[in-house]
Every structure is written in structure tokens, then in C-alpha cells.
């Protein structure tokens, strides 16, 4: 099949098959094979970036063939403005993670085989347009993740791996039940994600739609992870090997918010904005989303501040930053929803840098205690520059990418949720606080004698970080590169949701200017 998306999704799987046939002692060969099967998807992704038609709001690069005909289930993939940036992000991060995993020595064959399977699963989630296919890819991702954390992780890896596994599975079975309910609603059972919304809109009573919305939301919220389902994340991150943390924070968390956009908003728009009297015509679902998003921002930042483990700090900062995505998604203004998806991309690149940097120092010092370093700036200056850059990017410094997306979210959300927005905006201070404080404790001050001979960051590690740094910088100056891709489809989605809401009350709340 001559389709970019099919190649991007299944090349890693082919790579896994090849790796399984290689002798397990041929470590070098296995590593290069893994790279050889993750770089082509990136190149294809760059081609996709160039060829993607930015004017249309519908799906492109569609492939559709019957898969299980008697169940009306198709192999159906395609990409639109909502998923394109996530597809590109996945394609970008995977080869970087393969490079970052170069130092793995234990069970090399298994590691890279599982990693490539994970790659296929992630890419599949973002391109699948049949709900069944989506669900399969969603679950397929769990297995390699369990082993990658459980085998190659830190001391409490067993606990972290099973916790991650159970949490996510709990969410996904709720999704499965909702999926089955939706499946049967049309005359001809269907799981076509592009049509399902229209097929079920008039057939499911609003109350049931809301229940389905919540079931799906819990499934996705666990992945984001939204408060109070976030507790698996710090554990998983702390135990996971560096590359897996990068994937976890860079791509997996986005699946939660992507799922909400694609499935909750796309298939159940009426439930999304069903007005509630006592909320002044706003909908319970979106207020909840905005509320949880705000909690994520504040709570994540406060927790991050309290950490002494650098990786845990970054993990909690992820929770905080994903809060902006939720807040932006809940507002349904063009700026906010664009900001939310841009924030998904930006967080993916920035947090990947942070985790890679944590990995670099952990590989050398074998611990991540923030208070156990000190004065590294004079010992490893190059490493310090890069870290400083990444930390400032995460803080949302103007000129770097996260600033644009956070500002867009806050600007867009202001019209709908002024109170949440004020609280969320004030968290910028907290973010700056924990980031700068950590920087100060690790890099500034008198050099720690223990680490006098700490080796400088090497070329391979710089190669993993450089592309991300360039993207962060470029998008900070010219965000239109990504906004262009996503904006028409996102505004169309927002319009669709607003049009589907059963009353016009919230239109007023949103401001007629929309």
C-alpha cells in the first residue's frame, strides 16, 4: 500500500520482526536495525509535513479496507489537523529515543523489539479512524510499556509497571463498554469514528450520552493523567528508563487529550456542551475539564516544588503542563483549542528534552537527588547550557515554544473561565519557582568535589537534544508552522461541538464573537 501513514505505522513493527530474527548477542546490529526502522518514519513524517493540505478540515491520506466484514470493522486510517502534529511528534521522538537507549546493555534484543512495538502502537492510535482499530492500538501499547518499565526500570520497577498497567486497563475497559454501546446504536453497527457522531447523535438520549462521555473521559483522563488519576505517573516515570520516560511523557500522555478531542468531542458533541442551569448555561463536562485542568496546573506545580528527585520533579511538571491542555480544550474558543493542541506538541518536545537531560546526569552520577549535586555549571558547562535552555522553555519563557501555547490557552480561556484562568496564570510563578530553584541547587553554587570529574555531555546525547532544541526555538518564534496545520480542523471541531449543543445558552457565555 502506497500510503505514508501505513508505512509510518507498520515499519517499526517490521523492524521488530527483523530484530527478533537477529542473534541476541549482536547488540550493535540490533541497535542500528532499530534506528533503521525508526528514521524512515521520521523522513516520511517530514514529507507529510510538506505535503499536508492545510486548507481542508477533513481527513487526508485515507486508507480503508474491510478488516472484519461481518462486524463492519474496517482497517481505516487517516490524518487531519487534530492528529497531524501528534503523528509528527511520535515520528520525531522515536528515533531520538532509540539513540537515547544506545547504552542499554541488558536484554538488548527484547528492549528494542518491544520499543518498536510501542512505536507502532502509538502511531496507530493517532492515525486510526475506526474505533475498534483505535482500541486495539491503544491496548497494544500497554504490553511493551509494562515490560519496558518492568524489566529495564529502576528498583521499584515491578510496582510501577503493574500500577501503570492496571490504571490504564481500568480506563480502557470503561472505554470498551462505551465503545460497544456506541457500536450498536446505528441501524448498521458501526465504529467509523468519522461518521459515528452523526450516526448516534439523535439516537442516544442526552443523559446516556453524558454517561458515555464520562466513561470515555475517565479512560482518557487516566492517561493524561488528570487529577485524581495521576498517581501512577510519578511512579512510572521514576522507575522507567530514560527513553521510556521520554515516550511516556512525550507521546503517551497526549493520547489522553487526543482521545478526548477525537472521541469525546468528536463523537459526543452534544454531551460535551450540554448546558446546565446552575452553571449558568455552561456544561458540566467542560467545566469539569477546566476545573481538573486548573487543579492539574496548580497541584502539579506544588508537588514538583516539593520533590528532591529531579525526575519526579519533571514528572510532576508534566502533570502541571498537561493541565493547560485541558483548560484550553474546555473553552472552545479558537485561541484556546489551538493553544491546547499546540501545547500538546510543545510539551512533547520540551519534556522529552528534560527527561533526556535527567537521563544524561543519571547515567553519570547514578542518582537524581537535586540536593546531591551543586555547582555543576563549572564542571559540565555544555550540559548546563542545554539544561538551562530546556528549563527556561518549560517555564514558558517568551521566545520559546511553550510560551506561545500557554498564552494562547490563557487568552482563549479567559473569556469563558475567568476564575480558572487567573488561577492557572498565577501558576506561572510556581513553575518558575520550582524550575529556577532546581537549576540553582544543581548547577550553581560552589562545585561539588564529588563530581569534579563528571564527564561532559557527549555527541550522541547532544544529537538527541539538538533537534528538539531547534524545534522549541523555531516554534517560539514562528508557531504558525504548527498552528497552520491544525487550526482549520480544530476550529471546525469547536464549531461542530457548539452547533451540536442542545441550547444556545452557552453561546452567549462563550461570547457571540466566536
Amino acid at each position: 500500500m502506497d500510503n505514508v501513514l501505513v508505512w509510518m505505522t507498520f515499519l517499526p513493527l517490521a523492524g521488530m520482526a527483523v530484530i527478533l530474527c537477529l542473534p541476541s548477542r549482536a547488540h550493535g546490529l540490533i541497535r542500528w536495525t532499530a534506528l533503521a526502522f525508526t528514521v524512515p518514519p521520521l523522513l516520511l513524517g517530514i514529507r507529510l509535513f510538506g505535503e499536508f493540505d492545510r486548507a481542508v478540515t477533513t481527513f487526508q491520506y485515507i486508507v480503508r479496507t474491510p478488516w472484519i466484514p461481518s462486524y463492519n470493522i474496517d482497517f481505516f486510517v487517516g490524518v487531519d489537523g487534530i492528529s497531524i502534529s501528534m503523528v509528527l511528534l511520535t515520528a520525531l521522538l522515536c528515533p531520538i529515543c532509540v539513540l537515547a537507549s544506545w547504552g542499554i546493555e541488558k536484554g538488548v534484543k527484547g528492549y528494542f523489539a518491544l520499543f518498536l512495538l510501542l512505536d507502532t502502537g502509538m502511531m496507530g492510535v493517532f492515525v486510526a479512524l475506526d474505533f475498534f482499530l483505535f482500541y486495539i492500538f491503544w491496548e497494544v501499547m500497554l504490553l511493551p510499556m509494562y515490560f519496558l518499565i518492568g524489566i529495564w526500570g529502576g528498583p521499584r520497577r515491578e510496582y510501577a509497571a503493574i500500577k501503570f498497567f492496571l490504571y490504564t486497563l481500568f480506563g480502557s475497559v470503561l472505554m470498551l463498554v462505551a465503545l460497544l454501546y456506541l457500536y450498536f446504536t446505528p441501524d448498521q453497527p458501526s465504529l467509523d469514528m468519522t461518521q459515528l457522531g452523526a450516526l448516534v447523535a439523535d439516537r442516544i438520549p442526552l443523559e446516556i450520552q453524558i454517561i458515555l462521555w464520562v466513561a470515555l473521559f475517565i479512560g482518557f483522563a487516566i492517561k493524561i493523567p488528570a487529577f485524581p488519576f495521576h498517581t501512577w505517573l510519578p511512579d512510572a516515570h521514576v522507575e522507567a528508563p530514560t527513553a521510556v520516560s521520554v515516550i511516556l511523557a512525550g507521546v503517551l500522555l497526549k493520547m489522553g487529550t487526543y482521545g478526548i478531542l477525537r472521541i469525546n468531542f468528536g463523537i459526543l458533541p452534544a454531551a460535551t456542551l450540554a448546558p446546565v442551569e446552575w452553571l449558568g448555561g455552561l456544561s458540566l463536562a467542560t467545566v469539569l475539564l477546566a476545573f481538573i485542568g486548573t487543579i492539574n496546573i496548580i497541584y502539579g506545580a506544588l508537588c514538583a516544588m516539593a520533590q528532591t528527585d529531579l525526575k519526579k520533579l519533571v514528572a510532576y511538571s508534566s502533570i502541571s503542563h498537561m493541565g493547560y491542555v485541558m483548560l484550553g480544550m474546555a473553552a472552545f474558543t479558537p485561541q484556546a483549542i489551538n493553544g491546547a493542541v499546540l501545547q500538546m506538541f510543545n510539551h512533547g518536545t520540551i519534556t522529552a528534552m528534560l527527561f533526556l537531560l535527567v537521563g544524561v546526569v543519571y547515567d553519570r552520577a547514578h542518582h537524581r537527588d537535586i540536593n546531591g549535586f551543586g555547582g555543576l555549571a563549572s564542571i559540565v558547562p555544555r550540559y548546563t547550557y542545554v539544561t538551562g535552555f530546556a528549563f527556561f522553555a518549560a517555564m514558558g519563557l517568551p521566545g520559546l515554544s511553550a510560551f506561545i501555547s500557554e498564552v494562547l490557552v490563557l487568552l482563549g480561556a479567559w473569556r469563558v473561565y475567568p476564575v480558572f484562568t487567573v488561577i492557572a496564570a498565577s501558576a506561572v510563578v510556581l513553575t518558575a519557582g520550582y524550575m529556577l530553584w532546581a537549576l540553582q541547587r544543581i548547577y550553581l553554587g560552589p562545585p561539588n568535589e564529588k563530581y569534579r570529574d563528571l564527564p561532559e555531555i557527549n555527541t550522541r546525547e547532544l544529537m538527541t537534544l539538538a533537534p528538539l532544541a531547534v524545534i522549541v526555538l523555531v516554534l517560539g518564534i514562528y508557531p504558525l508552522l504548527v498552528l497552520d496545520l491544525q487550526s482549520p480542523a480544530l476550529i471546525a471541531l469547536a464549531d461542530k461541538v457548539i452547533a451540536a449543543a442542545p441550547s444556545a445558552t452557552h453561546l452567549a457565555a462563550l461570547g457571540a464573537g466566536h
Partner: protein, 503 residues
Amino acid sequence: MGTLESLPLFLPELALAATLLALVAADLLTSRSPLGRRTDVAATLALVGGAVALVLTIGLPAGVRGQAAGLVPTFLFDGMVALDAFAVFFKVLLGLSLLAAVAMSLGSEELRDNPNPGEYYAILVGATLGMFLMAIATNLLMAYLALEFVSLSSYVLTGYLKRDRRSSEAALKYLIYGGVASGAMIYGMSWIYGLTGAMDYPSIATGLAALDPANRGALAVALLLVLTGLGYKIAVVPFHMWAPDVYTGAPLPVTTFLAVGSKAAGFALMLRFFHFGVTAEGPAAVVGATPVPFLLGIVCAVTMTFGNLAALGQQNVKRLLAYSSISHAGYGLLGVVVFSDAGTEAVLFYLAVYYLMNLGAFWIALLVVNTSGREDLDAFRGLAWRGGAAPAVFMTIFLFSLAGLPPFAGFVGKFKVFWAGIQGGEYVLVLIGALNSVISLYYYARIVKRMFLVEPQKEDRPWRVPLTELGAPATLAALTVLLGIGFEWLSKQAGAASRIFTG
């Protein structure tokens, strides 16, 4: 159809009966030969007999198999048994269970010094014959006799390790529970006979449709009593108490045979009894008016939940798999509770994939128990890191498939069962089932964890099992994956087999 006309359509069962006799004769003839030779002869005979029965089953005219138009059952022996697509589906499954049990017995350390191989394999074949009859019985008497036939054979097989206390204890427990359950069952059958004046299912259906509403309470009692016997056979709560002890005490091949074959045969009997005798057109409303479907729903929910919760803390791999198989009976029951075609299809599909994954899991467990000589979960410790990467991967596939994770066949099985449940409006049961698969993941992952996440200790010997012994598990694992990705074919088979109830 009369007796003589029926015989040509009864060939698979006749083949098994002939094998049974041949085994007895061969055992007598070779009684002076060395043990190894006697075992070989007996096992070969059993394998050949099973294979012949399978070939005859799928070799029967296409119209009867239900591939083409003829979905209407052909009643043999004046309505005692029926031949239809449903029967063929189960006979294939049960025949394959026999072959698997024989193959596993040959590789089992527990049965290595078995002094009477002829006897053992003869009983195994006999039990299979009974299961075949359970799958095709359309008469209360036939159903009861077939069930008892299987039960009696199973008691003997369970207690086969005479010098093993656990084995004998298990056989005794099995016998006592079984006696009570089958007593209750035949009592219930006598009530049904009293209410409808008929023994064969089609006439019972007619009788029930015309049942005086005042007698519905009696019907409910009768059905519940019959359910006791059936529930015992498929090991659902509260008739499950025997299962953990029997599964732990019996030799592993027998455990597998009971878990896979006996359960499938029980489901076959149950589906036929409830759908054919009870819910065809007229009587559906009658049964629907009794509390039976509701109670069955409760049994289903409790079975899933209890099986999984009890499995959480198990340390013995056989016992863990026993509780797991209890919970799987619960999932299967969900397809029965909805009383629909989709439900029956889902049960059939589920049983087929359950055969693959459960058999596979037991098979790897057998190899591990053989090599380590222990049955606790630590026997799996570090398996992947001491040369056993292949069996560890297979076991992982089977266990995650049992947990219902895609892309394995077990997921499709659950998907279909839940699908039938949602279609039938059993939302609560589906939700309970779905949450249960989260619970089950935990204990399946306990084994996976030991195989991959835990390093081997000094006392764990390296895995040295010839690759040839992994042939069967490898095949099962491949099928588990393939059926998880493309299930159209099996789905169609199950669909064809389930449509005999509505034509």
C-alpha cells in the same frame, strides 16, 4: 430417524467407542510387554481414535454440518441425540481436547510411572465419548446419562495418582459434590417431565408453551435444579467448590482436560437445554416470566467476581488457573444469560479461544512443573533469563489473552461476549465483566512478572527442554495471536453453529 438409519451419522461416537474397546483389548494383549511399550501402544491408539473421530465429524455431509442451507438439526435415534452445526462445532473442540490431553499425558512427569496406561487412556477416551454425547443430547435422559458418564470417568481420572493424597482427596470431593449436583439435576428433570409430559427437547418446548401460568413457579424450581447440575459441570459459583481442589490434585493433563473439555461439554448441554428445550419461540416468554434469567445473571456476576478475587492470592499455579477458569465460566455465562443468537455465538467463540489460551497456559505450566518439580509460582522465576525466553513469551501470550488484552484472541472472545451483553441490555453485567478483566490482569501478571521481571535465583535450574516439546504451545500461541487479529473465520463458524436454535 430410526436406529439403523442413524448409525451412519453417529460414526464419530462409534469410532470413540471402538477405540475404547480396542484400548482394553490392546492392554490385555500387551500386558507382558515393558511399561514404555504399553504406554506407547495405548497412547497411539487413543490419538488415532481421536483423530479418526475428528475426521469423521468434519467428514459428514456438508448439509448436516450446517455449512450450506441445512441448519435444521437431524434427530437421531428417535430424538435421543441431534446432529447439526452446533454438534459439529463442539465435537471438533472436544476431539481436539482429547488429542491435547493425550499429548500432554505423554509428556507428564506425574504420569510417567503410571502402571496401567491402557486403563488411563481408555477412561480418557470414554470421557470424551461422554462429552460428545453431552454436546448432542436432545433428550433429558440422554443428557443425564451423558453427564454422568463424563462425571464418573472424571472421578477416576482425578484420583488417578493413587499414592498422591491430594489426588485421592480431590477425587473424593469431586465425587461427593458431583453426586449431590446430579441428584438435584435429575430431580429437576423429573419435574420438567411432570410439567410437560415429555423427555425430548422439542416436545418439552411445545409443552412449555402451553404451560398453565399457575405452574410457572414449579417450572422455575425445576429449571434451577437442572441448573445446579449444569453449574457444577461448568464450575460456576456456588457450585464451584470442587474445582480448585480437583484442578490442584489431579494430574495436570487431566486438569487441562477437565478445564477445557468438560467445561465446553457442560456449556453445550446447557445451551441446548435452555435454547432448544426452553426458549424456542413459544416457551421464551414462559421462561422469561420466571426468575431464572435474573438468577442466572447473578450467578454470572458472582462467578466472574469470585473467581478473579480468589485467584488474586493463589501461590500454586494449578490453583491459580483453576480460579481463573471459574471466572471464565462466568464470562461464558454472560453469553448464555442474554438468551440470544449473538450470545450463543459469543459463547461458542469464547469456548474455542478459551481452549487455545487455557490449553496453552496449562501446557507451559506442565513443562515448567516437569522441569522444576514444583507447582508454586516461583517455579516461573526468571524463566526468560535462564534460557526459557520462548516458553516465557508463549505463556505471556496465553495469560494476557486470558486477561482479555488485544491483540490476542481472548480479547475478541470478551469483546463478543460483552457485545452480546450490550445487545441484550445487560449493561451492569458487562460493566462487571469489564472491570473483572482488570482484576484478572493482576494475577496473570504475577506469573508474567516472575518470568520476566524477576531475576533467577541460584536454585533455579536452567531451562533445558528440547525445542520439539514447544511445538504444541508455539502453535497455540500463534493461533491465539492470529485469531486476535483476524477472527472472521472462527466467528463465522461459531455463528453458523449457533443459528440452529433459530434456523
